[in-house]
């Protein structure tokens, strides 16, 4: 309660230590303590104010504790309040002195004026001195029965304070039961609201060791209690409404009527001016309709407008909180927001944290219909005075290109960026062009002709320089002066401060050498010599390795360093869908702001009322569970392979330097291990990229369980599905009507899957993780019906529509597939069946 200790105990030199002032105050207070002269209260007020102002700026005034207490014998309520504030501040540090206050506080708890009763009770409970708890029980008990609602409100929170000082005293006095009855019967809304928050806190903490508390906690979620609150929600103030809405989120409705009743009750909360009320309502709507796909979509449509209004009506900080939630929704259902893209255009005076969010949203909702406008807008930002945003905008353009919309035009734009001749624009663009080439090697011709015109002297940033060098090595054949540019760079080896760039130089020199040996021989020689003499361990190791492998056999070296390229299909820097779902479940909490599930930034006890996965069957993602270590590991591996090259090197630096330092000599085994290391992490080693990306596809496409996968997948070439596929329900229906059934197949569902099907949503999530998206679902046990769609990764226009009927009693499923490209429907059915067969597997 006190101001920060440091400044309290050791006032900074600029501030007066206050010692003489405090002594002064002390004697003045002493004089006034006994006085009953008229006007004495005014002089006391002035003195008290001084004391409190010292307290605020951090001067220790605890030494006047006794005098303050003596002066508190007054009927002046302003004085009393200041005294309570003071006492509350210093009681914890001075338990002995606190005893002095008990007397007058207890007396005030019986005052005629309810205001004084309330204030005294609040102060009494705020002392936080454990050995004084015995004095709390009596006043709290009568406070809860007080006929004044102000006193009762304070008493209820007092019970919670007591619980935190001494849980056993609180439980022994049976206060929770009293609160429960107050909660259900008190006429004052704030008393009821405080009971609810106090009980939630107490029972959540007790639940870990008391079954009764557990039951009580559950009972808060019973239908009568929920409706008791929801029916009178308008009697509560806006903050208490948020509390009630958070409770309602955890309620499991009995049937769809129940769901619609609640939604109708809460519909007008979406028009509230308080963003917190609106977001809490949105969360209720989203969670209630999770299993009703079509209603869920309607909810998205319904909440869009109120959220956009909130974004533009509040302070920048409030808009940021709302925008972060819109961001989550946009990324989840981009097609619903696709026509609203103009709302996410940046305004020139917005803070950069808002602009960054908006850029990400624009990236997410770009599709066939709006890409042209969005990219045009982003290109405007690229010339922005705010360089950080200009860079982000260029990256956004690149990401849209990687999403495959209108690549042709975007490549043109990127090349225009290079023509702008601004250092940072050129730098960002080079990195992007490199990524684009890794995904779309077919564009190499256009890009290389422009990139070739860039003078390497104008590029200083390591990332950009590395990108350029990578392209020089990779496309040495198409860039006539590649060996000479590289040679130039290599000759300035000493001046190159970035190890990343030097690593790239080595690799590029090798690649160039294989393609144009006579022209590069000299440069490579210099590079290897300089590299082996390099003080940086990684550079040194790589040079030495190249040297030895060349010595061993040039052809082997070529196969290792410069094998035929394969295009990268997926850049795996996106979050896993489990994490995204987890964040979605924690809607209206900090998880959305940080874009992380709560377990990543809070300790368990503070996860708060938003964590409800224990109560509802969500997919558990505790970090220790083995099931999710698998995808996480995979993500890491994948990053090594496919993330931008510099990050790779960072990772590598961390993971390998240890072993490098412990190896005193380079014997054979050591080299081979280095070779492996290099092969895994080096930027120019597509040999392993190729192999590992198959690995990656195996796992990503065919799920996490290793054993059944190979058995179930015969030989046909793997079909790659677009994880971001989008199809609106109207288009789906139309297609479903138009296309013939190309395939009907029966398959079985494993028992774990049938068990998991009690929450049909889980199947939808599961299939989504295999890039198969649900568009509609329905049915009751034992018959469930789902409609799914998927798109071919390489051709977004090639759709697969599937009807899947599952009978949970026979554990059988029948699928009907309709496809734009009939020849591949068998391949798709295989993918589908495999995915389905893994449903429910750990």
């Amino acid at each position: 309660m006190a101001p920060p200790a440091a400044s309290q105990r050791y006032p900074s030199p600029s501030q007066p230590s206050g010692k003489s002032e405090v002594t002064d105050l002390k004697s003045q207070l002493r004089q006034l303590a006994g006085s009953r002269a008229p006007g004495v209260d005014d002089s006391k007020r002035d003195l008290f104010k001084k004391v409190i102002s010292y307290m605020t700026i951090g001067i220790d005034v605890s030494s006047v504790f006794g005098e303050m207490v003596m002066c508190s014998a007054t009927s002046d309520i302003v004085l009393k309040k200041m005294c309570y504030l003071y006492v509350g501040n210093y009681a914890k540090g001075n338990p002995d002195l606190s005893l002095l206050t008990i007397n007058f506080l207890q007396r005030d708890c019986k005052d005629q004026d309810p205001m004084i009763r309330g204030l005294a009770l609040r102060s009494l409970c705020s002392l936080r001195v454990p050995n004084l708890v015995e004095y709390l029980v009596g006043p709290l008990g009568s406070g809860l029965k007080d006929n004044n609602s102000y006193v009762r409100t304070i008493a209820v929170t007092g019970v919670l304070k007591l619980y935190h000082i001494s849980a056993s005293t609180c439980i022994d006095a049976d206060f929770p039961a009293t609160l429960k009855s107050l909660m259900l019967h008190d006429s004052d809304a704030q008393v009821v609201a405080n009971c609810l928050s106090a009980l939630q806190e107490i029972w959540s903490l007790e639940a870990s060791h008391s079954e009764e508390a557990c039951r009580e906690k559950e009972s808060l979620l019973s239908k009568p209690v929920i409706y008791y609150f929801l029916n009178r929600i308008k009697e509560f103030n806006e903050w208490a409404q948020c509390l009630i809405l958070e409770l309602a989120v955890k309620y499991v409705p009995s049937d769809s009527n129940d769901i619609f009743d609640i939604m109708n009750l809460l519909e007008d909360r979406l028009q509230h001016a308080n963003g917190a009320v609106v977001l809490a309502t949105v969360k209720v709507f989203l969670q209630l309709t999770l299993s009703m796909t079509d209603v869920h979509q309607q909810v998205y449509e319904r909440i869009k407008s109120p959220l956009l209004t909130l974004v533009s009506s509040g302070s920048p900080e409030q808009s940021y909180a709302i925008l972060s939630h819109l961001h989550l929704l946009v990324v989840r259902a981009p097609f619903i927001f696709a026509s609203d893209y103009k709302h996410f255009y940046c305004q020139y005076n917005e803070p950069s944290y808002v602009k960054k969010l908006k850029l990400e949203m624009l990236t997410a909702i770009a599709n066939e219909s709006n890409t042209y406008e969005i990219v045009t807008e982003l290109c405007e930002y690229a010339a922005n005075v705010d360089i950080a945003i200009a860079r982000e905008s260029i990256r956004a353009v690149g990401k849209i290109a990687l999403q495959q919309y209108d690549v042709n035009a975007i490549v043109d734009r990127l090349l225009q960026f290079l023509a702008m001749e601004k250092d940072y624009v050129t730098a960002e663009t080079l990195v992007l062009v490199k990524d684009l080439l890794r995904k779309y090697p077919q564009w190499s011709h256009d890009c290389i002709s422009v990139v070739g015109g860039i003078s390497s002297k104008n590029i200083q940033e390591p990332k950009a320089k590395s990108a350029l060098i990578w392209m020089l090595g990779e496309y040495a054949q198409d860039m006539s002066d590649a060996p000479y540019v590289l040679e130039n760079l290599i000759e300035n080896w000493e001046e190159e401060h970035s190890a990343e760039v030097r690593l790239h130089l080595l690799t590029a020199a090798m690649k160039c050498f294989f393609k144009r040996p006579p022209e590069t021989q000299r440069a490579l020689g210099i590079a290897l010599a300089a590299g082996m003499a390099d003080f940086h361990q990684d550079v040194h190791d790589r040079a030495l390795f190249y040297y030895r492998v060349l010595q061993y056999d040039v052809h082997v070296a070529e196969r290792v360093v410069s094998p035929p390229k394969q295009a990268v299909s997926v850049f795996a820097d996106t979050q896993s869908s489990e994490i995204k779902d987890r964040i979605f479940d924690e809607f209206n909490s900090l998880s959305v702001i940080y874009q992380k599930p709560s377990y990543m930034f809070t300790d368990k006890e503070h996860r708060g009322p938003f964590e409800f996965s224990d109560e509802i069957g969500n997919i558990p993602i505790t970090p220790e569970a083995s099931s999710d270590i698998v995808p996480q590991q995979f993500e890491a591996n994948d990053k090594d392979l496919l993330l931008s090259t510099d990050e790779k090197d960072d990772n590598r630096g961390l993971s390998t330097t240890g072993s490098a330092y412990t190896a005193p000599s380079y014997d054979n085994s050591n080299i081979s291990s280095q070779m492996q290391e290099l092969a895994i992490s080096g930027p120019a080693t597509p040999a392993t990229t190729q192999q590992s990306s198959f690995d990656f596809d195996d796992i990503f496409g065919l799920g996490l369980s290793t054993a059944p996968a190979p058995a179930l997948t015969p030989s046909p070439p793997l079909l790659k599905l677009n994880p971001r596929a989008a199809l609106d329900p109207g288009a789906f229906q139309q297609k479903w009507r138009q296309l013939p059934i190309s395939l009907t197949q029966d398959c079985s569902v494993n028992p774990q899957g049938i068990a998991a099907l009690t929450v049909p949503q889980s199947l939808i999530k599961h299939m989504q993780s295999h890039s198969i998206h649900c568009i509609a679902s329905g049915g009751q046990s034992p018959n469930f019906k789902f409609f799914f769609f998927a798109q071919k990764e390489s051709e977004p226009s090639s759709n697969y529509l599937t009807e899947c009927v599952i009978n949970s009693s026979s554990a059988k499923a029948q699928i009907k597939v309709k496809a734009d490209e009939q020849s591949t429907s068998q391949a798709f059915a295989t993918v589908f069946e495999t995915a389905l067969s893994e449903f429910g597997m750990p």
Binding site: M1, A2, P4, A5, A6, F48, I52, T56, I57, V78, L85, M115, R122, T153, I154, T157, L160, Q190, N237, W239, L243, Q271, H272, A273, A276, A280, S305, P306, T309, S312, S313, G314, S315, E317, Q318, A321, H325, S339, K342, Q347, Y348, N349, E350, S352, Y353, E380, A388, M420, E421, E586, N588, L590, S591, V592, S598, T602, D603, H606, G608, F610
Partner: protein
């Protein structure tokens, strides 16, 4: 949903008030917060976001009149709730103190503590209604003279131009008595519209939006019920796809995309005759927020030309034309334009007889600034600038400069045509006739013309 601490820091990082409600966050949180905000690492000129986490403690802040209002918690709370709360605390304190700034804060910190104790108990919000708080709070505010204050909120702009407005009203405490000893019965209803327009380089409108608020501040005794009637042809809701429904009628009606209301507002007859009824609580609050993307006539037309004029020279011409009636006067207009990075000097030529205009070249950020005290409706103003470059440039000069942005305030004018038709105060006595002020104002939020 509980917070652990609340504090207010000055721009220099001094504690102005500090309240710890739950003793869960280690001491030193104010220093941690301030260091983080002052030296936000990621980008040199990036501002710290309003919410961040340091060592498991979540810090929330809003900036009001240069002060940091901060809350901390370890719990995974609703971010909107805490930010909304901080903003509301600032508003309550302003209601009490009349004006909000460091000085009034320091003079009244005991009152502020008293408020804070009633607003939050053990980290849980109790109430933020000035009305409710009035019965629990006993300190009298020490009101400081508003004369030397910076305008801090949209309503404050009324104190500048229009003489007919009682300038001190919006800076009057809701609880303090007038020096004369009696309270004037009056009520203010302000229709404040912030407009955002982006013009393409060829001059057509790329995006436009109006974000409006009907703001109320009541000094009426006895809390009478109030009815506000809006345009009868007001329509609400046009989803992204249903635009064509309204095309035909867009000539007459006012179409809001969406709106929301203060919790005291009753909408019983809103659907039938577009009236809102409410018993206004004490203090300032938004009755209704609305958003509109219906086309409207932008108040200013901006025309910019930048041309090379020789080897190391270029010329800029900016023309602005006021597209509103001549009985309306816009004030405090500024026009800004980033110039090419290699600009070393700029010399300006204002139009002959220009009064109340200033032009400047800010060397550090290469910014052209042109400010005008006022612009009368229908008038046109031009600025010419000759630029000198420090290096030769090849390429498209328009890519190196702009966009032009404008800020302005236009009192007694609103672009949306939303109107308060009447303001009825229900009170028995026929002699009771309080002052009613209905005021309109349009401000630029983001008014940008690309070149």
């Amino acid at each position: 949903m509980m917070i652990s601490q609340f504090f207010v820091l000055s721009q220099r990082g001094d504690n102005i008030v500090f309240r710890d409600y739950r003793a869960e966050v280690p001491k030193g949180s104010t220093e941690t917060f301030f260091r983080k905000v002052k030296f936000w690492k990621e980008d040199a000129n990036a501002e710290a976001p309003p919410i961040f986490n340091v060592d498991g403690v979540n810090y929330f802040h809003v900036k009001v009149v240069g002060l940091y209002f901060v809350a901390t918690t370890r719990v995974n709370v609703s971010p909107s709730l805490v930010l909304e709360l901080l903003q509301r605390i600032a508003r309550v304190i302003k209601d009490y103190l009349g004006v909000l700034n460091e000085d009034s804060f320091r003079k009244n910190f005991v009152l502020v503590y008293e408020l804070l104790d009633e607003v939050i108990d053990f980290g849980y919000v109790q109430t933020t209604s000035t009305e409710v708080l009035k019965s629990y709070v006993f300190n009298e505010p020490i009101v400081i003279a508003p004369a030397r204050l910076q305008p801090i909120d949209p309503a404050a702009i009324f104190t500048q131009g229009a003489k007919r407005m009682p300038g001190t009203a919006v800076t009057k405490s809701v609880v303090a008595n007038d020096p004369s000893g009696r309270r004037r019965e009056e009520i203010f209803v302000d229709i404040i519209e912030k407009i955002s327009v982006t013009f393409s380089s060829s001059g057509y409108i790329l995006t436009s939006e109006i974000d409006g608020t009907i703001q109320m501040k009541s000094y009426l005794s006895g809390n009478p019920e109030i009815r506000i009637a809006l345009n009868e042809d007001l329509n609400i809701g046009r989803g992204g796809r249903s635009v064509y429904d309204y095309r035909s009628s867009s000539g007459s009606g006012v179409i809001l995309d969406d709106c929301n209301f203060h919790e005291s507002v009753r909408l019983d007859s809103f659907d039938s005759d577009r009236t809102l009824s409410l018993v206004p609580p004490d203090g300032e609050f938004p009755v209704m927020n609305y958003r509109m993307t219906q086309e409207f006539k932008p108040p200013f037309h901006v025309n910019t030309l930048i041309e090379e004029a020789g080897r190391l020279k270029a010329e800029v011409i900016i023309k602005i034309r006021a597209e509103f009636p001549s009985d309306i006067i816009a004030n405090t207009i500024t026009v800004q334009m980033p110039l090419p990075n290699f600009t070393s000097r700029a010399s300006f030529e204002l139009e002959p007889g220009a009064a109340g205009q200033k032009s400047d070249f800010k060397e550090t950020n290469k910014m052209l600034e042109w400010s005008l005290k006022k612009i009368v409706g229908g008038a046109e103003h031009t600025l010419r600038a000759k630029l000198t470059f420090s290096q030769e440039f090849h390429g498209n000069i328009t890519k190196e400069a702009g966009p032009v942005s404008m800020t302005f305030t236009i009192p007694m004018y609103n672009v949306s045509k939303l109107q308060v038709k009447y303001l009825q105060i229900a009170k028995k006595s026929s002699s009771y006739n309080p002052y009613r002020w209905v005021r309109y104002v349009t401000q630029a939020n983001s008014y940008v013309a690309r070149i």
